[in-house]
Amino acid sequence: MTSLPDQAHPDRTLPGSTRPPGGEPTPTHSRRRFLTYLVAAPTLAVAAQVVADVAGPATARALPSLPAPAEVLDLGDVLILAGKPTEDLIVVSVDQRGRVGLALPRAEVGQGITTAVAMLLADELDVPLSSVDVTLADARPELVFNQLTGGSNTMRSVYGPVRRAAAVARARLLAAAALRWGTTPGALTVTDGVVSGPGGRSATYGELSAAAADRTLTVALAAPKPTAQQRVVGTPTNRVDARAMVTGQQRYTLDLDVVPGALPTMLRRPPTINGTVRSLDNEAQLRAMPGVVDVAVVRTGVAVLAETFGQARDAVAAVQATWGPGTVDGEDDASIRRTLRAATPPPLAPGLLVQTVDAEFDFAFVSHAPLEPNCAVAHVTADRAEIWSPLKSPIVAQETIAAELGLPVSRVTVHVVQGGGSFGRRLFSDAALEAARVSKATGRPVKLLWSRIDDMRHGRARAASHHRIRATHAAGDVLTFEHRVASVETDFGHGLGEILTSVAASLPVAGNLSFAQTVFLTTVHSPYHLGVTTQTLSEVPLQMHTGSWRSVYSANTRGAEEVVVDELAAATRRDPAEFRRRLLKEDRFRAVLDRVVQEGQWGRRMPRGTAQGLGFHAEYKGCTACLVEIDARDPQDPRVTRATIAVDVGRAVNPRGLEAQMLGGLTDAIGTTLRAGLHVVDGLPLEGSYSQFHYTRQADSPTDVRVFVVDSGEEPGGAGELGVPAAVGAIANAYARATGTRPRSFPIVFPVDFEPFPR
């Protein structure tokens, strides 16, 4: 692909983008210059590039006094900063049928980003949403750090580049029409992809696209529409892929028919985490089983390839092997909890004349458990490999697979397939890598499926953690707030470490911090003025399969803090809503809190055994408050009956999608706070299905839920993970009030109420 510099101009449209003479830069991302490129293509294809970007977010903030690092530069800022040099490589095209296209270098896993990006394009280009095709880009190594879906960052990171490229595409189409009709672009209007000019002349984008792609065309400066002129962005919009989903036409990885002869493949895995295969003892018997085509031993287990998954599953169950030990064979919940407690620094001794609120919390491991299990299609031959899988970090997947197969990266094609959920899980490419290994070992194309049992036991999980919190107060004022977290090591080996290294000089943290500590400090911060506030993370190096789980550290860390905030309110004899209101750092925080207090009728009388609870959370430039009501008349069988949520993420690109994200966050919080976790026994989780890992079902879900979207800004903040921590706090607080207990261990109701599957 060749490109040609087309124009250079400062972005002049965004309010707040100018720099007052002699003053500090204003806190927007727009104090930069942009280059747009015309990309060589048969149809119009435009990309926008940022140049001379000397002012990253790190230096462009008005700093509040004593801010936490995450308030200066959060993980989303880090991802934007790292992706900046290549954000121009997002290309908008308009073809001769007038269809607008964009291959998004992110993964759609249910969060609705393809819809939101299609809305940006439809708005900027004045075309109907139905004329826009947003697909998922293959791994593009030239994007370096700009193809990772995480940190609630997609809309934050593409909002500018996509709209800028679209604005230039529109300007070129208008310039082409103006030239054809001997007029100026200013005399033209666009409706639904049709350009109209003086004298009743009109032409479709499709008719103009070839002329618009002509490099000799002169085009005036173009900048995205100001917020006030947006017609699609900000309007509740249904998903563009909804029809495919309700008719069964949406194709997930294992629905694809892309490699003729790709065989259903499953694995038998060792009985403990990271165990090994010493020997396969009944290969001949397996090969003789009905439908079995091939058998191979790979690093992670014994693979069986069969005509159907049903037959592969039967053969996998019949595997007899000698297994080597894993990495945590002797560990169980009790030993891990002891280790975590030992690793949690004690709180500082309080001063003499102050009172303290102390609390310790434990959080269990939690499976990501996306409903589509780990899966991939792989076709490896002697000199190349082709992979299909739902991947949020496909460049790292490509590099890892290339290294494993001994192939140059250019010989490994990685297709990103829309996924059936992620919650952090698809940051890792373990299924893709395993499928590539099996395909190489057998010389056959494979369709790899992890059984649900394997997905829960050998898949990844949010790391278990222990929390020690001490707050001190005197005369009704909170003086200090100290939160020491110890967590089982979280694996960030999906490319985030490299990203953090690439922007190390801009990070607002100092000292010899691990990646995990850096992530902790760039995601967790208190939204309250709680005096001298300290939040730290220590990690325990247990080699288990972990990974960040929707909201990374915040669900546990901030969830526990919300519980302590309620206890502090009680200790200082204040109403929890009034207490929060007084201590919240920003007016927009108070606005969402006030909204739920009012809409959710905070303080209304509740029958015995039922209660209300409040939670608040802010991250990635967004904030939310959650008010729930719980029925805990049977403390072992609590149900959240009602929820009121208010959310402000700045510019809400698709309020309907944002509402869906908040509903998802609430549902995650109901599950993980009340009932859903993993028990580890002898180096392996016991849970192997949703009958054992008690994720929320319809019967656990409230019948009365309202979400209020407050649209407060020019740029979108992060939304995908925001909903979890506030709801965790609200549910725990409601449970505490309803039962008169102090929840300290999560999930709250967590018996082993099932017969575990054999190992």
């Binding site: 049903g310 589509e372 995650d668």
Partner: protein, 151 residues
């Protein structure tokens, strides 16, 4: 291997499969019908929910031999050509789906519920066990009620 003939989404199909092969894999791996999804294989997640003679079944635990001579409907066979079933329409209106993976099963479960009772209560909706890991339950409930009102 034995042959089994049955009605699938209004057409007669014959599949060559072991008698005990779960219908899910006969559908997906032999007949190329991929609407019903695997989420557990043991009748827990209900992602594979389809209909046998109009009633909800879980193909992951239904032996292929059992459907011989009978009528199987998957999500692909619910609409009448381009005309969606009212439950599918309600799903679109409420914008229920997030990742969408559970939705074929959710819709087939809802259709079966509405066949049993035209005006389901909240308690009856609560009995639907289908897991939605994305947490679309609130909208599912609204969509079922909207579909009930429309039918």
């Amino acid at each position: 291997m034995p042959n089994y003939t049955f009605q699938l989404n209004g057409e007669t199909v014959t599949v060559d499969a072991p008698a005990d092969l779960p219908l899910l894999w006969a559908l997906r791996d032999k007949l190329g019908v991929t609407g019903p999804k695997y989420g557990c294989g043991i009748d827990v997640c209900k992602a594979c929910t389809s209909h046998l003679d109009g009633e909800a079944i879980r193909p992951c635990v239904t032996p292929t031999a059992e459907v011989a001579g009978r009528e199987v409907t998957t999500i692909e066979g619910l609409a009448d050509g381009d005309r969606l079933h009212p439950v599918q329409e309600a799903w679109l209106e409420q914008d229920v789906a997030q990742c969408g993976y559970c939705q074929p099963g959710q819709i087939m479960a809802a259709v079966a519920l509405l066949r049993r009772t035209s005006d389901p209560t909240d308690a009856e909706i609560d009995e639907i066990q289908n897991v939605c890991r994305c947490g679309t339950y609130v909208r599912i409930r609204e969509a079922i009620k909207a579909a009930a009102a429309r039918m």
